[in-house]
């Protein structure tokens, strides 16, 4: 084994070791040692990732097997690593954000009795996510895919005594399984037609299968590539919470805030984006799929953004913003701007993790009240959280020079090119992402103003403290509305604020630094395949790009910039100057508001149709099929038939000799008749 191969192995195994130690022996080694060992594991992974990143930049790509999982016939199923620029970037993002979240957790989960368990889970998550991104084949991808789903399930339900948490985690798992249902069928089609699950081998063969069709229904052939990519994308829709499989993500906020940042914003939910980027050689072969991807992304971006406007729970605002931003990434994928999607994935990972963690800091400061209507004026009490939140919000809305600007503006431009080139669905997607710039700016700064500026509203409301975070059950010094404890917000400890600052730095600068190499340089050469004649977006963007500074300066003359500005201005006017206006709008637009408050009714529909319908069908099959027909009629029916028949026959054995004699006479007579006839 070479030195590099040892490093590759260290990256996932170090967090795994931490997770195992904290999980199995946490009760023995105590809290401090548990967090030290898991943090050390992730730190090792981060350092190794950094070294690997340097090595990949030097041009060393690795594709090799770790071990053979199984062989069947002539197919080998393997566990292996593909270390290229895409993987290296993902490893950096995952390990860095994970490290920040690990440190932050020391502060956030300080009083929780499940401290060791929590550290074990987040390290296990880091391991799973790394296995996902480092995979060189579909099987291991699916392993990681499901493993991150498992840890997400465990963490959403971390506070397992809360009914809402264990409802949310079951929902998350099942909705993800709907996506996986498509995903596994897509993988199965790949194996059936390519005979291998190895990325490199599949991509190499893909062009030869471009024209292949499969017969799903008699006489109506479907393009193989369209079928495969659509099915794979259904998997991405589950994991990356795209409409209509988005329903689980807002509810996942029931989990502790650190995992909302790590799993439900920065890393796991972007697995679908990563996967599609990885599969670009396949997706490029189906315009149908790409158009579908674009439309789904557009719907998610715009309509989930709308919902961000009416949320009052600080975490839910950020959650809907995550959905919306994932929609942006998906739109970029559909426009064949894979590198832009991944670029936005990276910048979003930093600023969204930052926003979530600062929301968590606010929640700590507010003694676990999450309702932004109860906040206001917090900037005086929590200066670090205030500034870092501002940085995150500015990055999110795409302020020039901030990281989010570079990634989001390029998405909008890429879709524009796709639209001008006549790719189906691009027109709608372009409208959606453009309109959403305004929406994003509006809801982001609505939250920002309500939390950090304006009147201090927490004194009035502490009596009806909402306890959205369940620390209340475990240690009673927070909340429960008792007045012994002063309810003045306070700044969070260093273990919380230092990660905020460390995340704020890349949220500002990473876009400026990375745009040239990642989007228009050679960073992704050999990783992402684009058919430039059909999908010219990236080529056109590269021609129009004249450096990061010029791009930022030029942007002040563009529509997105002014949309963002007007969004901020309007939210300032509504929530700082004239708070009576939003209230009036809310009262006037009764139906619209109700539709939005019910999140367009998806939850109700799913509960009624899928959950209720499934149970009703199950009950019908059980009671009618099993109990009444099979058991009632066939099994016990035949048993009772035998019983009843023997009751009848038994009567013939009456015991009277004249009965038997009479029967004999009839019998003899019948026999005689028979012989006489023949």
């Amino acid at each position: 084994m070479t030195h590099m191969q040892t490093l590759y192995l260290m990256v996932p195994l170090a967090p795994l070791a931490g997770a195992v130690i904290a999980g199995l022996f946490g009760w023995m080694i105590g809290r401090t040692l548990s967090h030290l060992v898991t943090i050390a594991g992730v730190a090792v992974a981060f350092v190794c990732s950094w070294l690997i990143f340097q090595d990949v930049q030097a041009g060393h790509v690795y594709n090799g097997t770790v071990y053979t999982w199984m062989t069947s016939g002539n197919v080998r199923f393997e566990v292996g690593f593909l270390i290229d620029s895409l993987t290296a970037m993902m490893m950096m993002v995952v390990t860095f954000v994970s490290l920040m979240v690990h440190v932050y957790t020391i502060g956030y989960m300080h009083d929780d009795p499940g401290y060791q368990r929590f550290f074990s889970y987040i390290s296990l998550f880091t391991f799973s996510m790394l296995m996902l991104v480092m995979s060189n084949n579909f099987l291991q991808l699916f392993f990681g895919w499901e493993a991150v789903g498992l840890v997400s399930y465990l963490l959403i339900g971390f506070w397992f005594t809360r009914p809402t948490a264990i409802y949310a985690n079951l929902k998350a798992f099942l909705v993800n399984r709907v996506g996986d249902f498509g995903f596994v069928l897509g993988i199965a089609l790949v194996l059936a037609h390519f005979g291998t699950l190895d990325y490199a081998a599949v991509f190499a063969q893909a062009p030869a299968h471009a024209g292949d069709t499969i017969n799903l229904w008699k006489g109506s052939p479907v393009s193989l590539m369209t079928a495969i990519t659509l099915l794979l994308f259904i998997g991405a829709m589950g994991k990356s919470a795209q409409f209509p499989l988005h329903v689980w993500l807002p509810d996942s906020m029931e989990g502790p805030t650190p995992i909302s940042a790590l799993i439900h914003a920065a890393t796991m939910v972007t697995a679908g984006i990563f996967m599609v980027t990885r599969m670009s050689p396949l997706f490029e072969m189906s315009q149908t799929t790409l158009s579908f991807v674009m439309v789904i992304g557009g719907i998610t971006a715009l309509f989930m953004g709308f919902l961000g406007i009416i949320q009052n729970d600080i975490k839910r605002v950020v959650a809907y913003s995550t959905l919306s931003q994932l929609g942006y990434m998906t739109v970029a994928l559909g426009a064949s701007a894979y590198s832009v999607a991944v670029f936005h994935l990276m910048t979003h990972a930093f600023f969204k993790a930052l926003l979530f963690l600062s929301a968590g800091s606010v929640i700590i400061g507010m003694h676990h009240d999450q309702d932004i209507r109860h906040m206001g004026g917090l900037r005086k009490y929590m200066p670090v959280t205030w500034i870092t939140s501002l940085v995150g919000s500015l990055a999110l809305i795409g302020t020039p020079f901030f990281s989010g600007f570079y990634s989001k503006d390029n998405i909008i431009d890429a879709v524009k090119v796709a639209m001008e080139h006549g790719e189906p669905g691009a027109g709608f997607a372009y409208f959606a992402v453009l309109a959403c710039v305004f929406v994003t700016a509006f809801y982001s700064f609505r939250m920002y103003f309500l939390v950090f500026h304006g009147k201090e509203r927490f004194h009035r409301h502490h009596a009806e403290n909402s306890h959205d975070e369940p620390h209340a059950q475990t240690h009673d010094d927070h909340g429960h509305g008792h007045d012994a404890h002063a309810h003045t917000p306070h700044e969070s400890p260093l273990v919380v604020t230092v990660p905020l600052i460390l995340l704020a730095i890349p949220s500002v600068i990473i876009g400026f630094l990375a745009i040239q190499p990642m989007l228009f340089g050679h960073y992704f050469d050999g990783v992402i395949t684009i058919n430039s004649t059909l999908h010219p977006a990236m080529q056109t963007l590269a021609e129009e790009f004249h450096g990061a500074t010029a791009m930022a300066l030029d942007s002040v003359t563009t529509l997105p910039f002014w949309l963002a500005v007007s969004g901020v201005a309007l939210s300032w006017f509504f929530y700082m100057k004239r708070p009576d206006i939003p209230a009036a709008i809310k009262n006037r637009s009764g139906l619209l508001y109700r539709i939005m408050e019910n999140k367009y009714g998806f939850d109700q529909f799913n509960d009624w149709f899928f959950s209720g319908g499934g149970r009703a069908l199950g009950r019908l099959l059980w009671q009618v099929g099993d109990v009444r027909l099979i058991d009632g009629l066939a099994v016990n029916g035949s048993a009772s038939l035998v019983g009843r028949l023997s009751m009848v026959i038994r009567r013939w054995q009456s015991g009277y000799i004249y009965h038997y004699a009479f029967a004999m006479i009839i019998g003899v007579f019948a026999l005689l008749m028979w012989f006489v006839r023949t």
């Binding site: 005594t161 099942l174 149970r615 009950r619």
Partner: protein, 495 residues
Amino acid sequence: MLAGYPLLSLTIWVPIIAGMVVLATGSDRNAPLARLLALVGAVAGLAVAWPLWSHFDAGTADMQFVEFSSWIPALNINYHLGVDGISMPLLLLNSFTTVLVVLAGWRVIETKVAQYMAAFLIMSGLINGVFAALDAMLFYVFFEAMLIPLFLVIGIWGGPRRIYAAVKFFLYTLLGSLLMLVALIYLYFQANGSFEILDFHALPLTLPVQILLFMAFFLAFAVKVPMWPVHTWLPDAHVEAPTGGSVILAAITLKIGAYGFLRFNLPITPDASHYLSGFIITLSLVAVVYIGLVALVQSDMKKLIAYSSISHMGFVTLGIFLFNTLGMEGALVQMISHGFVSAAMFLSVGVMYDRLHSRQIADYGGLANRMPVFAALLMLFSMANAGLPGTSGFVGEFMVIMAAVKVNFWYAFLAASTLILGAAYTLWMYKRVVFGAIVHDSVRTMQDLVPREFAFLAVLAVLVLATGVYPRPLTDVMSSSVANLLAHVAQSKLP
């Protein structure tokens, strides 16, 4: 070095003789002795079975560890034993499960202890005989004889409706196997007075005859698997059986049905197997989807797991009748995995039942507060039941879904619905039993696992994970035999 030892005979007779010895301890005054002897017997049974795995030659499809001696010369019935890559893992699974069952009944069974333990030991030997027999009549004898101890276990140590369940179980299985006897006798005459299963394999038969024979065998084995619609005995049997009985039922006896398909239906009637494969696949998919939905609405944990077993066995029959390597190996892996997972699930329900004497989901809730170790292990087993990658439950299902797409996309489509249904019924049960706040005061008194319980669940946890992370040893052992069987089935036997 092991050439001289009659290993297969040992795996059959060591447990049976141990069972006889345990039986001799008699009344419950000697219960501690009976338990100890039973454990020694079960471990000895596993010890003599172990060399079958460690000294198995995976490179050949021939029968290994063969023993042959005449039994009833007048009818040319022989004591002929041997195993291949298909039967050997099952034999080992059975010997292993017997140890679990003895441990599971250690404290729980307080009346007729010796008889209980003896029944399981004798049954273990008889089931090993089923998997090792190469003479059809010998197979039939073991096949029928193993019903007796199981019938007694359900009928004596079972729940309130145990008599109904035991009789239902007995009649169901007997009905099927009688037709098989007719088929065996027919084949005996066709093969010029031989009961050798391998001779049957070589016999040319016309299609109508093959179809009749297929149906005769099918009835016997479909009841055992059990396939829809002859499955309704299983939930009743599970609900009434004591924990040990449920474990053996789910982990082992269901596999006998699937093993029968592989040993009799496919090689003896290959043309009929192909001819009727659509029919079997349809029944299998009905099992996966229909039974999956039925499992969703069960309020009794044992019933839920019983239905989930039927659904999982649907993957086994589906995989077998796809006639490709991946499918058949997937079916075999699924059989082994289901042995681990269903045993673990039933043992877990047993752990809860021993504390609260209820199998109703509604009587629990919030177990994680009182039994964190148990909750963690049950989470692993539930995830395995839901087919999560990294656990053994994933491997077989994944292989069968992959194999099904090659034959027909819609087969795979319906089979893959288990991804959703399996997760739904398993995790919904887990949620209601383990998560949440404690609502029943009785749950407050529940104690976490004792070392004995932890031991058998932890061993299963390790096996579930090991098989999920590295299933290769299992598929390597099977590959030659599966390839041989598939080659055999691909050749027409029409005269």
